[in-house]
């Protein structure tokens, strides 16, 4: 066995890549190949998990050169949690995509329905990029991975092929490209100052104007990619106009790549000053409020969900900003929990919203209560996901918000608590707009539809939303995983 044994980290990145190639070559078998590749990737991630559980931090010097000449892959608890999350969401969304694209009629005599033929190669390339980001310990490699992600993500965003989706996709492409180029110039400045590209070189560096410029560039670029207010302008339209499985991937995973890299930079680098952190917190506050207000005003369900992503991202930045220059020693954990909670809940919510739109035929919020057809399971999933996003106990979102507020109380940062509470109230308000539509029956003119039985498509959103609530009970083990290998060098 050890005679031929590529390490599991490389496999976690390359297995989806092989899957993408196979799915591109054989479009007819794409769903089967895709699910198989996601399964194989999950197995590789389990092996990574085994290694991380034993050793804490695992590194692989690709090519045997080692940093700084070569590129290293590195996994610790945080990376492991993100890998596991990605595998879970990919599996659920993949199952959801099976039925979402099943009914698509073949268009203009083409041999394969377009969406089904192209969803899987793009989705698997996206997974390659995401796993590559989690495991990378090299700045330039991160740039390349970001580009892999953004091309695949744009491809997914425009899969529907409508004018609105294409317009939003092009705006997304431009924002994403500009963000990546800022990161690239930042990498150039880092190389100018330190002559290295690995994270370790960054850790040993003295602060200097060039490094400050590098950090500023990378911060702005990544904030653009993570859609931090006021750089969020591309997100709502792009996420709302994509097809449901694509929206779920974009909202749950893709924006997290920028956030994850920011976390890693904060861990590695000479830390940005208090002023920058406060600025991030203020912008996060802006996102919480503006995203909340826009979600209140949204007319369509998917647009509401997309705006709530803006607000939730803002909350994660507030969590990052909270700790002050003492390092992110404590608040990074709250941020990581919120990232996980948001990803699981939002994937479930977008899939549920897609189901609701498919069954009812539209997703205008004001007319949800007039529909005679009620997709009960999808509505249940939506409600469960909303519970986690609002942050009601015992959901994972509750644990994330609680650890954020607990830390803020400990440090006496009452203003961040106020922001969190305001965000919570706003989310209650905007989600109840949709939920009341689900629960009111008095405005239905036609006789209520018969129950149509359960569909396979209902399973993924329900499972994801259930997990978003239920995982809160497993917060202890999740925190234990996050602390493996001690990212941010703290002991709990």
């Amino acid at each position: 066995m050890p005679e031929f044994a590529p390490d599991p980290m490389t496999l976690a990145i390359l297995l989806p890549l092989f899957g993408a190639i196979a799915a591109f070559l054989a479009p007819r078998a794409a769903p089967l190949i895709g699910l198989g590749a996601v399964g194989a990737m999950a197995a590789a991630i389990a092996a990574v998990g085994h290694a991380v559980a034993q050793a804490g931090t695992v590194t692989v010097p690709l090519g045997g050169w080692g940093a700084p000449l070569g590129i290293e892959l590195r996994a610790d608890g945080l990376a492991l949690a993100m890998l596991g999350l990605t595998a879970l969401i990919a599996l659920a969304v993949g199952l959801g995509a099976l039925s979402a694209f099943a009914g698509e009629a073949p268009a203009d005599g083409q041999p394969m329905p377009r969406q089904r033929a192209f969803f899987w190669p793009l989705c698997l390339l996206l997974l390659t990029g995401m796993n590559g980001v989690y495991l990378s310990a090299d700045l330039f490699n991160l740039y390349v991975m970001l580009e892999v992600i953004s091309l695949a993500a744009v491809g997914l965003a425009v899969l529907g092929g409508t004018v609105a989706a294409l317009r939003a996709g092009l705006a997304y492409m431009y924002a994403s490209l500009l963000g990546a180029l800022m990161v690239l110039l930042g990498v150039g400045f880092v190389y100018l100052q330190t002559g290295r590209l690995d994270f370790a070189g960054l850790a040993g560096a003295q602060g200097s104007p060039a490094l400050s410029a590098a950090f500023a560039l990378m911060l702005v670029g990544l904030a653009l990619k993570a859609a931090l207010f006021p750089l969020h302008f591309w997100l709502p339209e792009a996420h709302a106009n994509a097809t449901a499985p694509a929206s779920a991937l974009l909202s749950a995973l893709v924006v997290k790549a920028g956030l994850y890299i920011l976390l890693r930079l904060a861990e590695a680098g000479p830390f940005p000053g208090e002023a920058i952190l406060t600025l991030l917190g203020v912008l996060g506050t802006g996102a919480v409020l503006w995203g909340g207000v826009q979600a209140l005003r949204a007319e369509r369900l998917k647009l509401l969900v997309a705006w709530s992503t803006v607000a939730q991202i803002g909350l994660i930045f507030v969590a990052l900003a909270r700790a002050g220059t003492e390092g992110l020693s404590d608040s990074w954990r709250a941020a990581a929990l919120l990232i996980l909670a948001h990803a699981v809940a939002k994937a479930g919510m977008f899939l549920a919203a897609g189901r609701i739109k498919d069954v009812i035929g539209h997703d205008r919020i004001s007319e949800l209560d007039r529909s005679a057809v009620r997709p009960a399971l999808a509505q249940l999933a939506f409600a469960l996901a909303a519970i986690s996003l609002i942050g009601l106990p015992p959901s994972l979102g509750f644990i994330g918000k609680w650890s954020l507020m607990e830390g803020a109380m400990g440090a006496g940062n009452w203003h961040w608590i106020a922001v969190t509470m305001a965000g919570t109230l706003l989310s209650v308000a905007y989600f109840s707009r949709a939920l009341t539509g689900f629960l009111r029956f008095d405005r239905v003119r036609a006789p209520l539809d018969e129950h149509r039985g359960w569909a396979l498509a209902d399973a993924p959103p329900v499972v994801l939303a259930g997990l978003a609530v239920g995982l809160g009970l497993a917060a202890g083990p999740i925190l234990a995983v996050l602390d493996l290998g001690r990212p941010f060098g703290v002991t709990p």
Partner: protein, 96 residues
């Protein structure tokens, strides 16, 4: 004033011009060209960082990075152009 300084500053200026173009231009094609200018500027800063006073040979690592960057950028450009062409077809069909 070495070659690295001259071309590095020129690269930054090009990046800045590209940034202005991206933020200011209304036209889709022009914004894409502006993004390409940004990429050229960033690449120029990287190449300038590899320069060493002769007779020393330059550092090959940034050269490899820039070649990677050029290929990545042409890919992204092609995708954006495909979106532009498709959008144009759809818009002229529906608006006409």
């Amino acid at each position: 004033m070495t070659e690295a300084t001259i071309y590095g500053l020129a690269g930054l200026a090009v990046f800045g011009l590209g940034l202005m173009g991206v933020l200011g231009a209304a036209d889709r094609l022009r914004r894409l060209v502006a993004l390409n200018l940004c990429a050229g500027g960033a690449a120029m800063v990287l190449v300038a960082s590899s320069w060493r006073p002769p007779p020393a040979a330059p550092d090959p690592v940034p050269h490899a990075l820039v070649i990677t960057g050029i290929v990545v950028m042409v890919s992204a450009t092609a995708v954006a152009l495909a979106l532009i062409r498709r959008l144009y077809s759809l818009e002229t069909d529906t608006d006409a």
